[in-house]
């Protein structure tokens, strides 16, 4: 059986305005301070109009888990979240290198890896999604987004039919 697709925080680059509130919210929620260096979601802005936010994508056969030489990383089977065992993690950074998305941060103080856990400690789920002013962030799976995109295409066709 194939692995189920786990929900993760997905950013719509057309809606993201590059404000970086998600970074502040994440670090405040996890550490009680505002520090993008501790944020498990980061906004990347290359050209003035191209930007998106990136956090853990809960990959199948997660390369970070495979890369960890101390078996500090494991997957929570229910949610797909990558768990970090702080007693084993020594901050070597192999998981950071293994991640194709740059979604793992090494906490500069504790020297342990930090990965988005979908705000497991919050009743209402990922706080970045709640705070995102433009609803650019959502908790979803690629398959759900694909379905939505297909529906949008057909809706547009219908609207064109109505336009004289």
């Amino acid at each position: 059986m194939t692995q189920p697709a786990y929900q993760h925080v997905i950013c719509d680059p057309d809606l993201c305005t590059g404000c970086r509130l998600c970074e502040y919210v994440c670090s405040a929620n996890k550490h009680g301070v505002f520090d993008p260096n501790l944020a498990r979601i980061r906004v990347v802005r290359i050209e003035p109009v191209t930007m998106t936010a990136i956090s853990c994508r809960m990959c199948a056969d997660a390369p970070c888990v495979i890369a960890c030489p101390r078996d500090a990383l494991s997957r929570a089977p229910e949610t797909g979240v990558i768990l970090v065992d702080d007693t084993k993690c020594d901050g070597c950074g192999w998981c950071v290198e293994a991640c194709d998305f740059g979604a793992i941060v090494l906490n500069p103080a504790s020297k342990t890896a930090e990965i988005c856990d979908l705000c497991a400690d919050q009743e209402d789920g990922p706080q970045c999604v709640i705070y995102c002013p433009k609803e650019a962030l959502s908790l979803s799976t690629p398959e759900v987004l694909r379905q939505k995109a297909r529906r949008d295409v057909v809706k547009r066709l219908f609207e064109e039919l109505l336009t004289p």
């Binding site: 057309d14 305005t17 590059g18 404000c19 970086r20 509130l21 502040y24 919210v25 670090s27 405040a28 929620n29 550490h31 009680g32 301070v33 505002f34 520090d35 260096n37 501790l38 990347v44 003035p48 109009v49 930007m51 500069p108 709640i130 705070y131 002013p133 433009k134």
Partner: protein, 621 residues
């Protein structure tokens, strides 16, 4: 003390040394941050009468109180120096990831003085300040050099403030750019250029710690949600370019150097036209939940590839005001202004002045280096804009700003030199906005809509915009003080309609952030204090009553056509409104500040220097 670091970084560029100044919470509470703190640093670090482009002028940066937190549009910074355009206080603001990094590097602000022996840029890593040779980056654009430096320094986390060729060539209205946002007005980029400082790259490693994180997060979420509501709908949908058709409809859209107030091509340069044909995306400043900046891209034609976040003020200045009636050349011109590193508003107005001179035969084609500098000639506008940045030919004259250029050319061109105190006019023809006209005249940094905010009084119909009468002074003062509070906090003005009860709400947020107890009354007092401090700076620089005036065109030429036809501001009307304003400020009839007033505002330490011993205007002796 939370959020604040209580430290100011002083940099001496002549000797390439630094020192640290410690600030007390009581001091910070009186000026908050942004424009307030930057102006106070300017007052304390600049000797009276200094050359704005000399080593003694202090270029002062100050963070927002909320820098690096979740308070929406609370991460901005203020800059102040003695303006090379006006010779008075030159305070300016920018939306900014730079402010976040300045705070996280451990600084509430910076004071830059002196003049480097050769071109440098600063690299600030927390406490460590390095002076690095900038020669390889000379001539680079104000925006592109930021990416180049990040690449060289090898870390995307550096935020950079930089000047472009205009700042290097001391164009008097040069700007300082960070992430495509500008410290735009009053020529702070020229001051930076005069210090031979190409850029400042900052990287901070510290977290921002606040007194009440949970309370602040809750207050932030409420503001983020409110700011998606009716109070910001204008900014979120069309952005400020929505003003084009609104101003055109009521006959205040400056057209062809403020000679007319309606533009026959308003439709094709409007916010609506931008949205339908060129807009690709809304973009926000740091921590902003509104995202007013409407990015337009030109996809074909001779300006293919030009792209910019377009706001109303550059759009009017380089559009209708230069008689240019399509968006592609305007997008190109504004993009060039940003990359060359100059204030697109002042640039547009000085070019429109030159165009009128050309049409009247006061400047010949030969004077203009062979350019046909007529209204609507977009190719000539583009070439002359470039010449300004490099001070080539006619550009050298225009780089001096409208006031100096018109004084130098003379021949009656002063009549239509559209500036107050040397700062070019914003995008409202004030001949039919009389309260606002007076608001611009008394402005401490010259003709600025953002400092005055009095346009709201006229456009929203609080007062009859076509007449002037007694009793408008208090409203003018209240609006100016309110704008000033926002500039000091800093909170973006576009958030101003998102609070239930501004004073108590914002004072509470400030206390949650900094741990410094602030009442609503104390907050509101900051606006009056800093407005008076700016005025005090000007008085120390030799301000007199005659400086609070308007261009002759506003005072003599009736609007020729359109909905505001026939309107102009008579000298009697202007004098009446200014007298009202001084009285409401508690100043003398000559516009000076009584000693007691300064003491009352907590500015006793400067009362001896600038205060006068007399009774306020309008009060019996």
């Amino acid at each position: 003390m939370y959020a604040y670091t209580g430290k100011i970084l002083h940099v001496d560029l002549t000797n390439q040394t630094t020192r640290v100044q410690e600030l007390e919470p009581e001091f910070l509470k009186r000026y908050l941050g942004g424009v307030g703190l930057a102006t106070r640093l300017l007052y304390d670090n600049t000797p009276a009468g200094c050359d704005p482009l000399g080593p003694d002028n202090a270029l002062c940066f100050a963070c927002s109180s909320f820098a690096g937190t979740t308070i929406p549009v609370g991460t901005k910074h203020g800059v102040a120096s003695k303006s090379p355009l006006t010779g008075f206080v030159g305070d300016s603001l920018s939306g900014s990831h730079f402010s976040e990094m300045l705070r996280r590097a451990g600084w509430d602000g910076m004071v830059l003085k002196g003049q480097a022996p050769r071109w440098l840029y600063l690299v600030i890593d927390d406490d460590l300040v390095r002076f690095v040779d900038a020669q390889p980056y000379m001539g680079k654009g104000a925006v592109e050099v930021q990416s180049i430096l990040r690449e060289e320094l090898g870390d995307d986390n550096y935020r950079v403030s930089a000047i472009g060729p205009a700042g290097e060539h001391l164009v008097r209205f040069a700007s300082i750019d960070n992430d495509g946002r500008q410290v735009g007005r009053t020529g702070n980029g020229a001051v930076m250029g005069s210090k031979r400082l190409k850029a400042i790259a900052i990287r901070g490693s510290r977290p921002v710690t606040v007194a009440d994180p949970k309370g602040l997060m809750a207050a932030s979420l409420k503001l983020i949600k409110t700011s998606q509501g009716p109070g910001t709908v204008k900014y979120r949908t069309l952005g400020t370019p929505s003003n084009v058709l609104n101003m055109n409809a009521i006959g205040v859209l400056p057209t062809r150097n403020f000679s007319e107030t309606t533009f026959e091509h308003a439709e094709t340069i409007s916010g609506e036209y931008l949205r339908d044909h060129y807009r690709v995306k809304s973009v926000s400043c740091s921590s902003c939940s509104i995202a007013c900046e409407q990015w337009g891209v030109v996809r074909d034609g001779k300006y293919k590839g030009a792209k910019i976040g377009l706001d109303y003020e550059p759009l009017f200045a380089l559009g209708s005001n230069c008689g240019i009636g399509t968006l592609p050349p305007i997008i190109k011109l504004v993009e060039m202004s940003d990359e060359l590193g100059m204030d697109a508003m002042s640039a547009g107005v000085v070019i429109s002045w030159a165009m009128e001179c050309y049409e009247r035969g006061l400047l010949t084609q030969e004077d203009c280096d062979g350019l046909e500098l007529a209204f609507g000639n977009e190719d000539a506008a583009i070439e002359v804009l470039r010449k300004i940045a490099y001070r080539e030919g006619i550009g050298d004259l225009l780089a001096e700003g409208t006031m100096r250029a018109s004084e130098r050319l003379a021949k009656g061109s002063e009549h239509f030199a559209m500036h107050v105190k040397g700062l070019e006019m914003p995008g409202y023809d004030v001949r039919s906005l009389k309260t606002f006209a007076a608001g611009l005249a008394v402005g401490t940094r010259g003709a600025c809509h953002n400092r005055s905010l009095a346009y709201e009084l006229d456009i929203k119909g609080v007062f009859d915009r076509f007449t002037a009468d007694d009793g408008r002074g208090k409203a003018m003062v209240d609006n100016e003080n309110f704008a000033c509070i926002l500039d000091c906090l800093v909170l973006c003005k576009f958030l101003r309609n998102c609070f239930d009860d501004f004073g108590p709400d914002v004072a509470a947020i400030y206390t949650m952030t900094t741990g410094i107890f602030l009442t609503a009354d104390e907050l509101m007092a900051v606006g009056e204090r800093v407005c008076n401090l700016k005025k005090a700076f000007n008085i120390r620089e030799g301000w007199t009553r005659a400086d609070d005036t308007l261009p002759p065109r506003v005072l003599e030429d009736p609007i020729p056509t359109g909905p505001s036809k026939g309107s102009y501001v008579t000298r009697e009307e202007l004098d009446l409104l200014i007298a009202n304003y001084y009285q409401a400020r508690g100043w003398t009839a000559d516009g000076l500040i009584p000693r007691e007033k300064l003491v009352e505002l907590g500015l006793e330490d400067i009362a001896d220097e600038v205060g006068v011993d007399t009774v306020p205007a309008g009060q019996a002796i």
